[in-house]
């Protein structure tokens, strides 16, 4: 019984340590600081979207359109850098993410469409926008190397994505656990009717949370474009599933009402380590996808099974 309690609290850390030991055995270079930092940098892409998704899930929703938003923002930044300069291009891309998120939020709160249907629809709409926007031009190559330095370079030994990720997680953790907005979000995710009666501005909170997921997707879009020095209509393909998977493996429950920011962070690292390991043994991209799916089932099953055992032993 106590193993489950232990798993509930420290499960991901334990699993990461076990996997790390395993990786170190099959490839001693895994333990080099360079490799470890690289893994963190790789993890940041999944982690940042996962952080936004964790907030959305805590609020009783989730966002399927983040992959499309990521792609569109990447394309926006790629096309605007030559004409408007790096700063304006980045701001424009982030603004696109926020506005699309606000659109999601308005559809969900004011038109009362469930998040699944609303964001499934906008996933397609925004993907359509990507094709229209990039018609005939994709892949859009970026020639200004400064964008790469800003979004994927290093400050001292630390990669920029890692810094961005850490800032995002600290801010989001504080928002979720220590602000009125975070509490309200959990209230909405826990019991929306009660949240309304209690005096929470439910519509506004929902619009904000989807603006946040849109913003995180756009941030990852800009980072991806800077990393690859290009953007095309496939840049964010499947990203929504990565973000949701990371949040759920991290221990956030899809039933809403609470979010586990630390878990999401650890899950992003764990998933990246698995990909690293699969790469190491020469597994292809299909196997990686398969593993990601299987991992989700195992993690969620372990959580609910462990939860049941704990409930009984109580």
């Amino acid at each position: 019984m106590n193993y489950w309690k232990l798993y509930n609290r420290y499960g991901l850390i334990i699993v990461i340590l076990i996997l790390g030991t395993f990786l170190a055995i099959i490839n001693p270079r895994f333990l080099l600081p360079y490799t470890l930092i690289n893994i963190l940098a790789q993890a940041s892409y999944a982690a940042i979207g996962g952080a936004g998704m964790t907030l959305a899930i805590a609020g009783g929703g989730f966002d399927l359109s983040v992959g499309s938003i990521l792609t569109l923002s990447a394309c926006v930044v790629a096309t605007l850098v030559p004409t408007h300069g790096i700063l304006l291009a980045i701001l424009a891309a982030l603004l696109v993410g926020i506005l699309l998120g606000v659109g999601n939020g308005i559809i969900i709160s004011k038109l009362d469409v469930t998040p699944f249907i609303a964001t499934l629809a906008t996933l397609n709409i925004i993907r359509g926008l990507v094709y229209i926007y990039t018609a005939g031009r994709a892949p859009i190559l970026i020639r200004d190397a400064r964008l790469n330095a800003i979004t994927a370079g290093r400050i001292g030994p630390v990669p920029v994505p890692v810094i961005i990720m850490i800032v995002v997680f600290i801010v989001f953790y504080l928002v979720l656990e220590h602000t009125r907005y975070g509490r309200h979000l959990c209230g909405i995710g826990s019991n929306e009717e009660a949240a309304k009666v209690t005096g929470i501005n439910v519509d506004r909170a929902k619009i904000i949370v989807f603006a946040i997921t849109g913003l995180t997707a756009a941030m990852v879009g800009v980072m991806r474009a800077g990393q690859l020095m290009m953007a095309d209509s496939d840049t964010g393909f499947g990203y929504e599933l990565t973000a949701i998977t990371v949040a759920l493996v991290g221990g956030t429950s899809l039933s809403g009402g609470s979010g586990n920011m630390v878990g999401t962070f650890l899950a992003a690292i764990f998933v990246t380590m698995i990909n690293y390991g699969l790469n190491l043994i020469g597994a292809g991209v299909f196997v990686r996808q398969l593993t990601l799916g299987a991992l989700l089932i195992v993690a969620v099953f372990a959580k609910s099974y462990g939860g049941k055992i704990l409930a009984v032993s109580k």
Binding site: L174, H178, T179, R180, R183, H184, C186, G187, G189, S190, N191, E193, A194, A195, K196, V197, T198, G199, I200, N201, S253, S255, G256, G257, S258, K314
Partner: protein
């Protein structure tokens, strides 16, 4: 050796004789049943005895062990120690099905009906008659359902989807399902918790019918007046122990309350003297809600408790919800002389209008959130640090501890989820939640619904002190007329969206409230011309 042998035989005979005498008397018997949940002793050596054909009430405060006992009878839990004897034989209910097969059927407080299926499907779910081709035989299914419903004297069509039924009708479907199992013993867990008075009467009628047909009924309830209406016997549990069983005809409400609580609850003294100088705090003029409430005027004075009575659908809850910003309305509202616009729940909150919602589960608690976070959620604005906007955890703990203490809320750890609390304590959390932001006016919808006698008395005491000491004006909607009479300074009675009575002083009594709520009577007490 021989002597020992003889003794042994004697002993056996003695036991057997004793057993035999019990057999004749009781249909269902528990022998010294104990059940622990972790460190909590939910039941301690309970000997609960039920005779065939009686209506046996099982009463006690929240946490007294009623639910555990009926769940053991229903096979949901298994006893740690002790045995169950049904019709003479020891039985062992490993799961709910084995108990059901033995003839025990439980109707839980929260129905387990499937809203989109029809009445007949719900009654026979999982046991549908099939035609030879494997499809459901609807004719037989509906026919059998109709038979049972007719037996209950209920005019419910078997083809109706359950979601179209009223709460009371759903209850009858649950009863019909219980009977469809050929149950001998029907256990009802707080069956009137969600029913209004009229519907409750119909249920009592049905229970009497069932009793005539020789069904045995175990009736779990908080409401003592019901027990005197329908039960033959009442067994009281307190803290997991069986305190005693009484013939209802030979006991009194006082005695039962004493058994439940362990001591006399002092009757709260009605506030004798009015506040000397009445200071108006809330003034409602010509409130109109959706054409369902018309011309509603009300003046609330500082420190008074005003009741809002009426049958369901009279508009009393609509007025409460309008003031809490949940329902839109037209008309004017003045708070301390200034006109205010209550457009939504958060503006009501900002004006200092506290609100306790009617439905504890649907509109109140946040099940995934902690005890503490459930209590403080309305007060967060005041707890924010100026610069960072983070919640000041120290201040939050102070507010929580203070309210949890005055409300006498019982909890293990304030970071556990609110679901770990009993219903009465959950209700106290919700009341504390309304008070936490420091309100001037408190709107309470059914403040003591579904909670036990002890918690109820505490909440009443608290309301009095809020009104007297903190000078909060309280508007209380309640379906329980004695509560209104005892607690309020003034009672507004509504019927079909209009005020039909303003009762004060001598005129504030049960009869007048009922008369104004249901009849053609119109009473306005003389000393309330101010309205």
């Amino acid at each position: 050796m021989r002597q020992g042998g003889i003794l042994y035989v004697d002993y056996q005979i003695g036991v057997m004789q004793k057993m035999k005498s019990n057999n004749d008397e009781y249909l269902l018997e528990t022998e010294s049943i104990s059940k622990n949940f972790g460190a909590v002793e939910a039941l301690k050596k309970v000997d609960f005895k039920v005779e065939a054909g009686e209506v046996h009430a099982l009463i006690g405060e929240n946490g007294a062990g009623k639910s555990t006992l009926i769940k053991i009878l229903g096979g949901v839990h298994q006893p740690d120690k002790g045995k169950i004897k049904l019709e003479n034989e020891y039985v062992n209910f490993k799961n709910p099905v084995s108990s059901q097969e033995a003839g025990i059927s439980i109707i839980f407080q929260h129905f387990k009906l499937m809203p989109d299926l029809t009445v007949a499907e719900n009654i026979f779910v999982g046991r549908e008659d099939l035609k030879s081709n494997g499809l459901i035989d609807w004719k037989s299914l509906n026919g059998k359902s109709k038979d049972i419903l007719t037996r209950l004297d209920k005019n419910i069509e078997p083809e109706t989807p359950v979601k179209q039924l009223t709460v009371a009708e759903k209850q009858f479907v649950e009863i019909a399902r219980a009977l469809s199992f050929d149950a001998k013993i029907v256990i009802m867990d707080e069956p009137t918790a969600c029913l209004n008075e009229e519907e409750s009467e119909i249920l009592f009628e049905t229970i009497r019918e069932l009793e005539k047909d020789n069904y045995t009924i175990i009736y779990v309830s908080h409401r003592l007046e019901e027990i005197f209406k329908i039960a033959d016997k009442a067994t009281v549990l307190r803290d997991g122990e069986l305190i005693g069983t009484r013939e209802v005809a030979e006991t009194s409400e006082k005695e039962l309350v004493r058994m439940m609580v362990g001591s006399d609850i002092e009757n709260l003294v009605k506030k004798e003297s009015e506040v000397e100088e009445k200071e108006i705090i809330l003034d409602i003029k010509n409130m109109k809600i959706n054409s369902q409430v018309n011309n509603f005027d009300l003046t609330l004075y500082r420190g008074e408790i005003v009741g809002l009575a009426g049958i369901k659908g009279s508009g009393r809850n609509k007025v409460a919800k309008a003031l809490a910003g949940i329902l839109p309305f037209s008309g004017e509202v003045f708070l301390e002389g200034e006109k205010i616009d209550i457009n939504n729940p958060w503006s009501a909150l900002d004006y200092g209008i506290g609100h306790l919602p009617q439905e504890r589960n649907d509109e109140g608690i946040f099940p995934q959130m902690s005890v503490k976070n459930n209590l403080t959620i309305k007060a967060l604005k005041k707890l924010e640090r100026k610069l960072t906007k983070f919640i000041d955890q120290n201040k939050e703990n102070v507010i929580f501890d203070k309210l949890a203490n005055t409300m006498n809320i019982k909890f293990h750890n304030k970071n556990d989820t609110i679901m770990s609390l009993s219903g009465g304590n959950q209700q106290k959390i919700l009341l504390s939640r309304a008070l936490a932001p420091q309100c001037k006016v408190l709107i309470l919808e059914e403040p003591t619904q579904g909670i036990d006698v002890g918690a109820k008395a505490e909440i009443h005491k608290l309301m009095k002190s809020l009104a007297d000491e903190d000078e909060i004006a309280i508007l209380m909607v309640s379906s329980e007329i004695p509560e209104l009479v005892r607690m309020t300074d003034r009672c507004i009675v509504m019927q079909r969206g209009e005020i039909t009575g303003i009762l004060e002083g001598e005129q504030l009594n049960n009869e007048n409230i009922v008369a104004c709520a249901t009849g053609t009577e119109r009473i306005k007490s003389a000393n309330s011309e101010v309205i």
